[in-house]
Symmetry: C2
Subunit: 361 residues, 2 copies
């Protein structure tokens, strides 16, 4: 299958996204970014046994270093980040070094933030190996670690030099991780592209069977939508905020249950259902549209309601620290029909309370 490429247009910070099969073996994709002795692969103990040796072989000429971190969202914090810094300093990697993030969203976020801060900024590549990272988190330069009081609260905007998505790596994903990635793809449909949403409805069975042709298209289209939004609003002062559909509710679920309990994509799915329910209560979404969203997420193997253990108060407490709060006011991304979302502080508080209490529509 041919490789497909697109560009994130950000002036001097522009970079390519390559999507395709067997890309992990193509030395020429990596070569422009590597210098002998000044490359460090950052990965985790779940991904390393699967792909580390292969990538090391591909770029062996550059004598890459590698760091293996513990897998999982519960490790996306300072102590893990500091293991990267300590390794780089012990091995005397300079400001002209390049980090390679080999893994899912957590590895991409940690490695990108390490690259943003190490010696005040070095280069890095994103090599996403999960569906969630390939359709979403590896693109756009958002990097962060979690804080016990808030998800992704400490971070930086720091764009990679390139994103290289080898779609063969998706074969090794377990069902739960795979579904979590679909959540972000479905998000793009709801917030920006009704045709893509319909395409996902039509092809969800084949996607779950990991049909590679269809998967490649889903990844490409997701990256295309994201690249366009990021190019228009790199530092999230407007339009880019809409990419957070379901995320304010979702982050509250992740913090409330404890990082790593639900996968990020699972929390986002339940979060999108809460956003959809609130929109429906306010007449911004028809019941039929609400049911289409609910049905697609369910078919994708995703949770469509928040965990029972989280109360209205839990949600409100965690959401009040959301990065989109302005002048103390909560702002939410809410769908207006399928294919369009808006950022609003003008939601009905009673409708929000009913939604968080799980009252039927």
């Amino acid at each position: 299958m041919a490789m497909k490429s697109l560009t994130v247009n950000l002036g001097t910070r522009s970079y390519p996204i390559h999507i395709g099969s067997r890309l992990l073996d193509q030395r020429d994709l990596f070569e422009p970014y590597c210098r002998t002795g000044a490359v460090c692969i950052v990965t985790d103990d779940k991904v390393a046994p699967l792909y580390l040796e292969r990538l090391q072989r591909t770029i062996a000429a550059f004598k890459p270093h590698s760091v293996i971190l513990p897998n999982g969202e519960q490790n996306k914090h300072w102590q893990t980040l500091d293991r990267i810094f300590t390794f780089l300093l012990k091995n005397e990697l300079g400001r002209d070094s390049t980090l390679i993030a080999l893994g899912g969203g957590v590895i991409g976020d940690l490695t990108g933030f390490a690259a943003a801060c190490y010696q005040r900024g070095i280069h890095y590549l994103q090599i996403p190996t999960t569906l969630l990272a390939q359709v979403d988190s590896s693109v756009g330069g958002k990097t962060a670690i979690n804080h016990r009081y808030g998800k992704n609260m400490i971070g930086a905007f720091h764009q990679p030099q390139a994103v290289i998505a080898d779609t063969d790596t998706l074969a090794s994903l377990d069902t739960r991780d795979f579904s979590a990635g679909l959540a972000e793809s479905i998000k793009y449909g709801i917030m920006a592209d009704a045709d893509f949403f319909l395409w996902l409805e039509t092809n969800i069975q084949a996607l779950l069977a990991r049909d590679s042709e269809l998967l490649n298209y889903a990844i490409y289209r997701s990256c295309e939508i994201k690249a366009e939004v990021v190019a228009a609003d790199e530092r999230e002062t407007g339009q880019r905020e809409l990419l957070n559909l379901g995320h304010t509710f979702g982050h509250a679920i992740e913090i409330g249950l404890g990082y790593g309990e639900w996968l990020h994509g699972e929390a986002v799915a339940a979060g999108m259902m809460l956003a959809a329910a609130l929109s429906t209560r306010m007449g911004w979404l028809t019941s039929a549209e609400y049911r289409r969203i609910s049905r697609l997420l369910e078919r994708a193997g995703l949770p469509i309601k928040a965990p029972d253990s989280l109360t209205h108060e839990d949600f409100m407490q965690h959401m009040q620290r959301d990065k989109k709060v302005r002048e103390g006011r909560l702002r939410l991304v809410l769908p207006r029909g399928i294919g369009k979302a808006v950022m609003s502080a003008e939601f009905d508080p009673a409708a929000l309370a009913d939604t968080l209490a799980g009252k039927p529509l």
Copy 2:
């Protein structure tokens, strides 16, 4: 005494530097950057008893929060930084908040880096209260924390919204801190401005007596030189590196002795003497120029030789992790006469060894 102002020209990231007396009381200087309930003063336990209440009074209308950190270079690390993040999150300060760094270089570096990372970037003001911070560290947007393997190794370029230097605060500085600040002023003379060096030679006694007219000029001229260099090379890819004269040696002294043992300015003074000695050995500086530098630093109350406890090997080990190393090669900023410095990897290793061993010229 009238307030003097200048601008750091960085396009959309341009900002003013205000220098003068009683500025801490002038609400109109702070007002444009403050929003009620969304301001947090960050200071330390040495500066807070002197100036915190005064600044709180000036901006009382905005109900500022405040965090008081432990004083000293030995506290410029992650654990202290995390106290800022935890405070901001507990108090639900949003992405539209502003931090105010009230203190010396350590507080400026910590607060600036916290502002760079909190919710991926918020605004901050620099209110430097030491001479070192007023002439150097508060200007230019370099922020960082230390790592046990290297000074300022984890950080960001993040420009403040304004620098407000109240020169009255210098009255409370002890002699050692005051001299440490002079080191950076003398640095500007050596690296960029022979006339300013001569002016410092002429006026060093009056400066040590803290003549306010002369002090204001020394601060203004230092900021002017720095602002020009930063405007030309914000992210230190060329000319800005020259501002690190004495710093590669100086950082090695700070790490080698343990952070906080020598003040940063003291280490930079001894570091500039090592750089001057190496230049002299290579014929880039005359003996007379070397003696002028040595004499001025000595009159300013600064150390002019490295601590005996540091060996040649100690220096080489710490310097090999310097941020200016490229392709594994050490690069040093070295004076070529007074008023000019160059970045060079072409120094004579034997001359460097003799210099680090403290051999007489």
